[in-house]
């Protein structure tokens, strides 16, 4: 009996070590980044090792101040506002759309569904310039609106698809018994199905948040005053093509920008692994 347990323990240990070794190899660039953020600026490129010879917090202090007029406090706030609103808008409106496709009957449903799936393949470039022209016609340049409002119209087909598959996995009789009890369509959606769809909803929330955070191109296009800049744009401000770049502070702020995403990911893991698992993507 104990022999098997010991073998198990040893196997576990080896596995852990292997994962850690592989992880360190893979994470080396990140470890270097973190180390560099604590090194004084003039040692970053001359000192090869990860561990700073002289440990300093200067980069974080200087980096937080941003480029003088606007600091990273503002950049983080802007990023959070955009990402949180987008995430919730996506969760609400993609799930409403998914409900329609998964549970409701109406004429033309199949055609609309096929079209929705086709939009998954659409490269964003095809709509960028016309959308820009439209948004400036209504005066939305330099606001968060062009980035956030599309989410209220369920333009992210990926999440609609995810939610449709998930809802399909829920048995239809719970709908039916609710309807017999006099529940409205919206009631079935909000009170019966959505509570059961939580894992998929959390998946939608998390990935909407992460992908919006990283959507540099749209932020670059629509946010023109530094007070509206987001974290990725703030980071770019540290680079300049005709003078010095502030590497130290840039690294420090890059490290900081990883933290919210990491925390979110780590804490919500069990939900979205389940969320994707039960979508029955396998058919």
């Amino acid at each position: 009996m104990s022999k098997r347990k010991t073998t198990q323990r040893i196997n576990s240990l080896i596995l852990n070590l292997f994962i850690i070794a592989l992880g360190v190899g893979m994470l080396y660039p990140i470890l270097w980044l973190i180390g560099a953020s604590f090194k004084p600026s003039n040692q970053i490129f001359t000192q090869a090792s990860i561990f700073p010879k002289t440990f300093t917090l200067d980069n974080y202090v200087a980096g937080w101040k941003g480029i003088g007029i606007v600091g990273f406090g503002t950049f983080f706030k802007n990023s959070f506002v955009i990402c949180i609103i987008s995430a919730f808008a996506n969760a609400i409106f993609c799930s409403i759309t998914a409900y329609a496709f998964a549970r409701l009957q109406f004429k033309g449903k199949n055609i609309w569904f096929a079209i929705m799936m086709l939009t998954l393949m659409l490269p964003s470039h095809v709509t960028t310039i016309p959308r820009y022209i439209m948004f400036r016609r209504v005066g939305w340049i330099n606001t968060f609106l062009p980035i956030v409002v599309p989410k209220f119209f369920a333009t992210d087909a990926f999440f609609i698809f995810l939610l449709v598959q998930f809802i399909r996995g829920l048995p239809k009789d719970i709908d039916e018994s609710a309807i017999i009890d006099g529940c409205s369509k919206f009631g079935v959606y909000s009170r019966i199905l959505m509570p059961l769809t939580v894992p998929a909803l959390i998946t939608t929330l998390l990935f909407s948040f992460l992908w919006t955070w990283d959507d540099f191109f749209n932020q670059l296009l629509y946010l023109t005053s530094p007070h509206k800049y987001t974290v990725p744009m703030g980071l770019r401000l540290f680079l300049d093509s005709s003078g010095i770049s502030f590497w130290g502070p840039m690294f420090a702020m890059s490290v900081l920008s990883l933290i919210p995403a990491f925390i979110l990911f780590f804490s919500l893991q069990k939900y979205f692994v389940r969320g994707i698992a039960t979508t029955g993507i396998k058919g």
């Binding site: 003088g68 209220f152 369509k185 005709s242 010095i244």
Partner: protein, 425 residues
């Protein structure tokens, strides 16, 4: 039916909430005039620009200047272009040599002379450079000159003689050979200037030296022929073969001409190419001492030139034209502002600004250089239209030769065809 309404109501409520969040911040306080100033730069330039803004705002409490900074000129123009297309352009637009491309959206400042702005203290050549078709569409931020920068401390360390500031091409090559004999492996006498992202400038210099300027706007022609471009490519090919400049793949790793990806700052090359206004930025990035020498052959041919570094230009559709012009007058002519700004955007073209001196020590070297190189200059050549594409494609052709994909003869032919195509575009 009730549910449908509920869904729609939810949608409308959310949209209006976001709408409110977006536009609330834009409600400007009444009574204050806001000027939007779009420029590019980071670090030092942003700090000193902000200091100048704070000074102006303290003198004029009812004016607020909002800087809109982009990291690099590339991003800046992309942003400004899209803003202009949307009728939402900033009040002050910083432009560079590409000012002709923007002439029709810029304000003519001549009518404001003596009222909102004092043009009489500004050098006539600076006024000329900002005048297109009789309209003064940009005020020079200062004068700049192309130069070769060299690492004085490194030269002293290896026991080589310091370079003469003025040399011809033969003397220059000999000097490079002297450097090479004393330098360790992996360090080169000169950076490969042709692979810089701003490579059209050294090429422009060489065509002037060669007596075949790049472009003449009056008859839309170029004096450059394939054989000329070929000689340029062969010159650098020769340097490369002798090891006076690095091999192509190493050079390509230092292509962005900014202080961090500069081979000179990295200690891998002694001589590099910069504009004079970049000196203080470069000097701050290294503990070695830097100084200038002229491009070779400048004295014989007066092939150097003193272009305006950048221009302060006013958006024709600005809602605060008078205040904007006044602010530009401050930036360009006010002694206190000039002291703060130094020669970060060029050595001032205004006599009142120059007499104020500068907060930066490196600027003295710039003045010394200009005293020697100034007389070796002549009127600037017109800029090739479609500047961005010229830089990008010239760079590509040069690299093809550097990597041995095509011969200098073929490269020369391609450069010629490129010029013709861009002129005709």
């Amino acid at each position: 039916m009730k549910n449908t309404l509920l869904v729609l109501l939810l949608a409308i409520l959310s949209v209006s909430f976001v709408f409110g969040a977006g536009t609330k911040e834009d409600a400007a306080a009444s009574g204050t005039t806001t000027i939007r100033w779009a420029y590019w730069g980071s670090g030092q330039r942003v700090e000193i620009s902000q200091k100048a803004i704070d000074l102006y705002q303290s003198r004029h409490p009812n004016i607020k200047v909002n800087p809109e900074v982009s990291g690099g000129a590339g991003d800046h123009f992309v942003k400004v272009d899209t803003q202009l297309a949307g009728g939402d352009g900033p009040d002050i637009i910083q432009v560079g040599g590409n000012i002709p491309d923007y002439a029709d959206v810029l304000l003519d400042i001549f009518p404001f002379d003596g009222k909102a702005i004092n043009l009489s203290v500004i050098d006539p050549s600076a006024i000329d450079s900002g005048t297109i078709a009789g309209r003064l569409v940009g005020i020079s931020t200062g004068v700049n000159m192309p130069a070769l920068v060299y690492n004085k401390s490194m030269v002293e360390r290896i026991g080589a003689p310091l370079p003469k500031i003025t040399m011809n091409y033969d003397e220059f090559k000999d000097y490079l050979r002297v450097l090479k004999s004393k330098l360790p492996a992996g360090v080169y006498p000169m950076q490969d200037i042709g692979v810089l992202s701003s490579n059209s400038t050294p090429f422009g210099y060489w065509t002037r030296y060669n007596g075949t300027p790049l472009y003449d706007a009056s008859d839309k022609s170029t004096a450059v022929r394939p054989q000329d471009a070929q000689r340029y490519l062969e010159l650098f090919d020769g340097y490369r073969k002798e090891g006076l400049i690095p091999p192509a793949d190493i050079a390509a790793g230092y292509a962005e001409n900014n202080a961090d990806t500069s081979m000179v700052i990295a200690g891998k090359a002694v001589i590099g190419f910069i504009w004079t206004n970049q000196l203080s930025g470069y000097q701050a990035a290294t503990t070695d001492e830097l100084d200038f020498i002229e491009m070779p052959g400048a004295a014989e041919t007066n092939a150097l030139w003193q272009p305006p570094s950048q221009f302060y230009a006013v958006n024709k559709d600005s809602k605060n034209i008078e205040e904007t012009v006044k602010f530009i007058d401050f930036l360009v002519n006010d002694p206190e502002a000039a002291f703060i700004l130094g020669s970060d955007r060029g050595t001032p073209a205004s006599s009142t600004a120059r007499s104020a001196g500068s907060a930066f020590a490196a600027d003295q070297k710039v003045i010394n250089y200009m005293n020697v190189a100034g007389p070796h200059s002549s009127a600037e050549t017109d800029h090739v239209p479609n500047d961005t594409e010229f830089n990008s494609t010239l760079y590509l052709i040069y690299q093809r030769v550097a990597f041995g994909q095509i011969t200098p003869a073929q490269g020369g032919q391609q450069i010629y065809e490129l010029l013709l195509r861009l002129i005709g575009k």
